[in-house]
Amino acid sequence: MFSFEGFLDLPLIWYGLIGTALFLYVLLDGFDLGLGILFPFAPSDKCRDRMMNSIAPFWDGNETWLVLSGGGLFAAFPLAYAILMPAFYIPVILMLLGLIFRGVAFEFRFKATGRSRRIWDYAFHFGSLAASFMQGMILGAFVRGVEVEGRSFAGGAFDWLNAYSVMTGVAVVFGYALLGATWLVMKTDGITQDWARKCASYVLGYVGLFLGIVSISMPVMNADVRALWFSLPNLFYLLPVPLLTASLFVMIWRDLHRGREVRPFLMSIGVFLMGYIGLGISLWPWLIPFEITFRHAAATPTSQSLLLVGTAIMLPLVLTYTAFCYYLFRGKASHESAY
């Protein structure tokens, strides 16, 4: 039985790896789901075809990052997995149901003819919307903390439901819509691109608003978080996070109005990264906020070591062929689709 416990900080490495996997999921499925959120507002059916085609080869791989986040959490931090899943039972199931409708729409929409196609248009839209909203609600409930007793969840079935989680749900919907819109600016042209540009600058304001609310509410709600951000000298070390975020917003706005195609998407990723880093700083070192740290929840070192070997070999490979697929399907999306 081998273990790297002696010379590697395994729980910290896995905290970082799961965090990275989850962030990649948020980004990659974020623009897929964002597309679904914007779907019914597109100016024409041909635009919708282009939107769908622009992500059809990727969505499956993108969703796999969610499976890696869930499976990785089970493997590396089984205690956290065992507490969070019952705690978020209803929103997790609703998210999964949303993802089912979203996922099958890719296949069914192009097979359907006539009026039944509308069904899958709406399955795609409402599936994406529900999945995004539920992910946001889970985030909101998560940062407010989960009731734990011993090694299991001790709260009620609807603990996750409150005004704050509804707000974060809406926030994530707008955030994903920004990713989706800027993705479209990059991957389409003509009227689809023009429309996506308008959408992007419209939702950009909302994203800023919600990001502001979350940033202010976190320290207001929790004294530890407040102390972390506003004590000296931390304030000066952490000040670049909000400043950088604010400048990213300005740059996205300018780029959208100057016809840049790729940069708005990359900088939207930057906005998400900043938000994610901000959350990470606020919640350090909790894996289940204010109850269980990542060290407490860690699986036994031999288990974390075994999976680390596989991850060290496979993750670079996975990233390489994922990048290969994005390269292979580069260029602007076509509407070619109907039977």
Binding site: E63, F74, A82, L99, G103, S303, G310, E336
Partner: protein
């Protein structure tokens, strides 16, 4: 009323529902991916366009099935925690890495190269496309490897210890992964997946032959399927027998339930049919063949076979479920072997492709593989009860602290959603079958697109109006 429902039973029903629905799709795609690889290889080797046309028809069916497999599979990765959180907490150290490896080594591979397989026709060389098909086929097998290893560990756990804190800790990874029942289960399941696909393909081929449609293509489908029925169906009987003997060694109570035997006896009879009565501790209306059970299980006419009464009442699985599921599985296996034998006979008389009654038979056999796969899983999973980890952790200790109401509502939501979504999927697959292989269609047809380029437009076409 819902409050009075037993959360353990509800959690089991809900889990059984989602996983039974899910397994249907991998059972089909494991076989289909390998068969598509064979088709593409024949196409590249012979240049015969019929192979390519058959490939293009079935790759669309593959895409629909795979999509449904993905979405129902994502559900499974959360179900362990939502339904069995105590189990997840306790065995996470042992099973977690296995599932992690499945994601890392199989899911990403399948998902990424499926994109190339479906949309890459005009973007990669035929050789690279063939490689993508091979990778997807390999990915389905790697995925089966890990998930069956995890399931087998729950059946025959080895390489672990239970510490004072009640958690399971691994002591030997090779013993965990290659636990005693894993090799048997893996081979048995992959073979089952191949047979399931063969009988679907054969049934559709028979349908076309019967209607006189797409005859060239239908002969490829039907012929290849019959090769599988002839060679693999008898092999499966042998593999199943080996798996059964392995179960007898490690989970004898399951085998007693499969046989419906209550009394330990020498020269035990084989019960063909009967009605196991759990309370009465007997199998009613039994139709027996003397001594055959002893012969099959011990390879001796007077060998001793243990009966269910060897175990206390709360250690026995629900016998009727196991007993009947086993008979359904074996019965279908026998029908598949008979189909193969009939195919040999007809082939020797040069009537394989134009015998009406045989075409009817093959059409009727189309869905039987799925039924047999599900029945087989019922045997092994229900036969493991009342344990979730055999001999080490009981199912009722594993359940999440979630209200029965939540589980009941989510079960209802899953039934409605799966019924609607997968009903639609079946309908679209039937339409694709109705349409048949299309010689006129461009290879980009995987997603219904007639002309290249499929996904992205590198060069604008003339007269391409932007609307």
């Amino acid at each position: 009323m819902i409050e009075s429902l037993d959360p353990v039973l509800l959690a089991r029903i809900q889990f059984a529902f989602t996983i039974s629905f899910h397994i249907v799709f991998p059972a089909f795609t494991i076989g289909l991916a390998s068969w598509l690889a064979v088709l593409e290889w024949r196409w590249l080797a012979t240049g015969n366009p019929v192979y390519a046309e058959v490939y293009r028809m079935w790759v669309k069916i593959f895409a629909v099935t795979f999509g449904m497999g993905v979405v129902s599979g994502v559900v499974m990765s959360f179900q362990f925690g939502t339904n069995w959180s105590v189990f997840s907490d306790k065995v996470g150290n042992v099973l977690g890495p296995l599932l992690g490896y499945e994601v890392l080594t199989a899911f990403f591979l399948e998902a990424s190269f499926l994109g190339v397989m479906l949309f890459g026709w005009n973007r990669v060389s035929p050789r690279m496309h063939f490689t993508a098909t091979l990778i997807v086929a390999g990915g389905t097998l790697v995925s089966a490897f890990w998930i069956l290893s995890a399931d087998s560990w729950m059946q025959t756990p080895t390489g672990f210890r239970v510490a004072e804190d009640g958690l399971f800790y691994p002591t030997n990874w090779l013993e965990v992964i290659f636990n005693p029942s894993f090799a048997y289960r893996f081979v048995h399941m992959v073979t089952a997946a191949y047979l399931t696909t063969a009988f679907v393909v054969g049934g559709i081929g028979a349908f076309y032959l019967w209607r006189g449609l797409h005859v060239k293509h239908a002969r490829v489908m039907f012929g290849m399927a019959m090769i599988m029925a002839v060679s693999v169906a008898p092999l499966q009987l042998l593999l199943g027998d080996r798996h059964g003997l392995n179960t007898l060694e490690h989970q004898p109570a399951k085998v007693s339930a499969m046989e419906g035997l209550w009394e330990t006896q020498e020269g035990a009879p084989l019960l063909l049919f009967g009605w196991p009565d759990q309370e009465g501790e007997t199998t009613r209306y039994a139709l027996e063949i003397p001594k055959l059970s002893s012969l099959i299980l011990t390879h001796d006419l007077d060998g001793e076979v243990k009966g269910l009464k060897e175990w206390p009442g709360d250690e026995r699985p629900p016998v009727a479920w196991v007993f009947w599921s086993f008979r359904v599985m074996v019965g279908i296996g026998m029908l598949m072997i008979l189909t193969g034998l009939a195919a040999i006979g007809l082939f020797l008389r040069k009537r394989l492709f134009d015998t009406r009654w045989f075409q009817y038979l093959c059409m009727a056999m189309t869905p039987t593989g799925f039924v047999a796969v599900l029945a087989g899983w019922f045997v092994t999973e229900i036969g493991r009860q009342p344990y979730i980890v055999y001999g080490a952790m009981r199912t009722e200790e594993a359940v999440s602290p979630v209200m029965g109401t939540s589980i009941a509502l989510s079960l209802a939501a899953f039934i409605l959603t799966y019924g609607f979504v997968f009903g639609a999927g079946s309908y679209y697959i039937l339409r694709l079958i109705g349409k048949g292989p299309d010689a006129e269609e461009a290879p980009y047809g995987a997603h219904g697109v007639k002309d290249p380029p499929l996904v992205t437009r590198l060069v604008s076409k003339e007269g391409d109006q932007d609307v």
